[in-house]
């Protein structure tokens, strides 16, 4: 019998509650600055929109040492009478538990899913603990499509700053859309709504939580698994998304390795599914869309272009092993342009991503090295994106991303033919 990932104390708490209708999971690690607000917003959301349901909030913590756990335990659900129409029939319970396994968000989710499954919850939602602007309506947005409309997977839809979420915009969204044919705009958004069936499905393969899925790869794994396994998916508009500020460049390379590695890895698993997909379709949307102003962000263009140029001069010997000679020639030409005129054509970028995916598939060199060497190219593409969209509105930027997606879809036959050749 496999060892349970839940501690004795947690199992005891779960047994006490017997079952629940809704579980909302909040993974955390040193989020003392924001977690109280997140818990209050979630509690209010549950009390306001799901008053007739038995709800449990699960905090799955990765060993915080900044007092996060104490804050979670001490955060009391306030008197929400001002925002409530209906008085909640049941109190909202809280389970605070450490998670076991590889440190990361995926392991925290594993624990949350395990608790939701034991409580036989009809619906489960997960929200990040570093959110500064989560409102009770987010809970409704993520859970209502599952509870009332029979959807299995609800992805978030945000209004973000035009430069925000560049790994999503330049790799993950266009690539998963081209591969699996579903236009899920934020496949690695961080907040999701999940049905009971899908939670059980996520728990079938325990081994997956020992891979990069246990870290940053969890979001893309959940989205891809839901789509590729034929579950009913939709997306829900939540408004703007504002995180607690951390230096995002600090672990860019490992983030890239984990996210891109998970996307490439899932290609192997779901080859039979995506090989048949020839176009993409929109998915149902929930929520009332409105314009939100986002804070201006600073971008160090010089540092990004320098990173790209250094990659060209130092990593060419690595790329020569798997990038086509014409791609390398074009890259070398780009390195000669000055910062403000720096551009990175969409066609070239898409070709590079597909060639990296092929190299990963063939294991031309160590897969970790392949993924690691993508960072300077990503910096180049991001710098060019910033340059191209200095004056653009958010709608114009969205159109630009749409054109990139279409380029990914256009070049998919090239990728597929090379991928198939290697499988023969």
């Amino acid at each position: 019998m496999p060892r349970s990932i839940l501690s004795k104390e947690t199992k005891k708490r779960v047994k006490e509650y017997k079952n629940a209708d809704i579980v909302v999971g909040i993974p955390s690690y040193n989020n003392s600055r924001t977690i109280a607000h997140v818990i209050k917003a979630v509690s209010a959301g549950l009390a306001k929109h799901f008053a007739q349901y038995r709800c449990v909030i699960v905090n799955s913590d990765g060993g915080s040492n900044d007092g996060t756990l104490d804050i979670v335990k001490d955060t009391v659900v306030e008197d929400f009478s001002a925002i409530l129409i209906e008085h909640p029939r049941y109190p909202v319970h809280k389970i605070v538990t450490p998670y076991h396994g590889i440190p990361g968000k995926g392991s925290a989710f594993h624990t949350i899913f395990e608790i939701a499954s034991r409580l036989e919850a009809k619906a489960c939602a997960v929200v990040d603990s570093d959110l500064r602007n989560i409102t009770p309506e987010w809970v409704e947005g993520l859970l209502e499509p599952v509870v009332s409309h029979g959807f299995d997977f609800v992805a978030p839809l945000y209004q973000r700053h035009k430069y925000d979420g560049t790994i999503t915009n330049s790799i993950v969204y266009p690539l998963t859309r081209a591969l699996y044919g579903k236009r899920i705009r934020q496949p690695i958004g961080g907040e999701f709504g999940i049905s009971k069936n899908l939670v059980s499905h996520f728990l079938k393969d325990k081994e997956i939580y020992t891979t990069d899925v246990a870290r940053f790869g969890i979001d893309i794994w959940m989205t891809t698994t839901a789509v590729a396994s034929g579950f009913k998916v939709c997306q829900s508009f939540l408004g703007a998304k504002i995180h607690d500020h951390k230096d995002p460049g600090a672990d860019l390379s490992s983030m890239m390795v984990q996210v891109a590695g998970s996307v490439f890895n899932l290609m192997e698993r779901y080859y039979a599914i995506w090989a048949r997909v020839t176009h993409s379709d929109a998915v149902p949307e929930f929520g009332f869309k409105f314009e939100v102003s986002t804070d201006p962000v600073k971008v160090n263009l010089e540092r990004m272009v320098e990173g790209f140029n250094q990659g060209i001069s130092d990593l060419s010997t690595v790329w020569e092993k798997f990038l086509s000679p014409d791609v390398l020639t074009q890259l070398r030409k780009l390195a000669k342009s000055n910062i403000l005129e720096f551009r990175f054509p969409k066609k070239l970028w898409v070709r590079i991503i597909y060639e990296f995916a092929l190299a990963y598939h063939k294991s031309v060199i160590s897969r970790h090295h392949i993924l690691g060497s993508l960072t300077p190219l990503y910096l180049g593409r991001t710098a060019a994106f910033v340059n191209e969209n200095l004056e653009s509105t958010s709608v114009e930027v969205e159109n630009e991303i749409e054109r990139l997606c279409l380029e990914f879809e256009k070049q998919k036959p090239y990728f597929l033919s090379h991928f198939e050749k290697e499988r023969l």
Partner: protein, 232 residues
């Protein structure tokens, strides 16, 4: 008189008669050995094709390394040749031992005893080659991603350090100049570190100061201007 003349011939004939079966044995072992070596080479060729040995060598960079060294034979050809000549060599040793001559026997046994050391040395060298390559590439990628300007020379230095270490270990395993190689390596490494320390500490004191100040300023500059957008 007749008897005294024919005596040496009879003696020679008797000795030849005594040694002839052994010579025949040697010839037979050699002929069978050559046939066996040829068959082994042929079968190995087929096996390497089945397991796509050439592709594997392409992936691990062995083909490129050979091409760079101007070796025109393919890795599987080289592997087949090594196995072929190894079998031939063993056959020759086996055939010589059939003669049962004391000097040859001693030579053969000391060579056979030396063989495991030789193979371990070869394995150490092969492992060292790949480890050096892997480590240097991992380091290069990490340093480039951290935007360390001298990423390439640092990774090259690490590459050669690891290679030298493993060559030293290989030679040590072969028993050539035991201990001397390791001491040489230690002196070399110590010398490099000392030279760098002296160069920076005395000779290039001002240069080192300028360099560090410049580095600190650059770090300060990039700290002041972090990117504020999230990548995911």
């Amino acid at each position: 008189m007749t008897l005294s003349l024919s005596g040496p011939f009879i003696l020679f004939w008797e000795r030849l008669e005594g040694i002839a079966p052994k010579i025949l044995e040697v010839i037979l072992i050699l002929v069978l050995g050559f046939i066996f070596a040829w068959v082994a080479k042929f079968l190995l060729g087929r096996l390497l094709k089945i397991i796509r040995f050439e592709d594997l060598c392409d992936r691990i960079g062995l083909s490129t390394a050979l091409a760079r060294a101007n070796v025109r034979r393919s890795p599987s050809d080289i592997f087949k040749l090594i196995v072929y000549w190894l079998v031939i060599f063993l056959v020759i040793i086996l055939s010589l031992s059939a003669l049962n001559v004391q000097v040859v026997n001693e030579l053969t046994s000391s060579f056979v005893l030396y063989l495991p050391r030789f193979f371990i040395a070869v394995l150490v060298l092969i492992f060292g080659y790949f480890l050096a390559k892997f480590t240097a590439r991992a380091l290069l990628i990490a340093l480039v991603n951290a935007q360390v300007k001298s990423a390439k020379p640092i990774s090259l230095a690490v590459h050669f350090m690891i290679l030298i270490l493993f060559v030293t270990m290989g030679i040590e395993q072969l028993g050539i100049a035991k201990g001397v190689m390791m001491i040489t390596y230690a002196i070399l490494l110590g010398g490099v570190v000392l030279a760098l320390a002296l160069a920076f500490g005395l000779g290039g004191r001002d240069m080192a100061k300028d360099f560090l100040e410049k580095k600190a300023k650059t770090a300060e500059k990039s700290k002041k201007k972090p990117d504020e957008f999230t990548h995911i």
